[in-house]
Symmetry: C2
Subunit: 106 residues, 2 copies
């Protein structure tokens, strides 16, 4: 694993699939770059805390315990507690949505 890189390079802007790249790992911690290109996601119910920030594009994030989804724009971050059910309902169709996720396990 490299010890440097650029979050906004090394991906296709119109990829058919979401892309996941691990940037750093240590016991109990994984830092990951995610690039969404219009995909939505399934419901997640994670055993660990996740801290995540959207850095480009836009996304619609829904928490099961909230009435309305959150519209995320670049810079928006959220700490997701364990077992707080959530899903990404939509990501930007025009531009890649780059996320940085810090997972407190793996």
């Amino acid at each position: 694993m490299s010890d440097f890189g650029n979050l906004f390079e090394g991906f296709e802007a119109r990829a058919a699939e979401e892309r996941f790249d691990a940037l750093f790992r240590s016991p109990g911690l994984r830092i990951e770059r995610i690039v969404s290109t219009g995909q939505a996601g399934d419901w997640y119910d994670q055993a660990h805390t996740e801290w995540v920030v959207l850095l480009s594009g836009s996304a619609v994030l829904r928490f099961e315990d909230e009435a309305e989804p959150r519209m995320l724009r670049p810079g928006d971050w959220v700490t997701i507690a364990p077992h707080r059910r959530h899903r990404v309902e939509a990501t930007d169709m025009e531009r890649p949505s780059v996320w940085l996720a810090v997972h407190l396990s793996d």
Copy 2:
């Protein structure tokens, strides 16, 4: 501590001092937003690993064990091993330089 926010809000663009905001803490982990507004830094020799990314502005990062400093632009990230001496030689004078740092201790 809030469980959401925006990395690019909540600071003065022309502050005299660098600004540090803890966004998340758990045992062994601290996620911090740093906003530099033209400041340089002292040499750091940290006991813990730091993963850091520059998200806006620009910066010059020097490692003592490298001949040339690194010119950082938005998206550039680097994993800094424990006790690898480094300093920020300069940050952008025109725009705020927003960093996200993940510290593997505290």
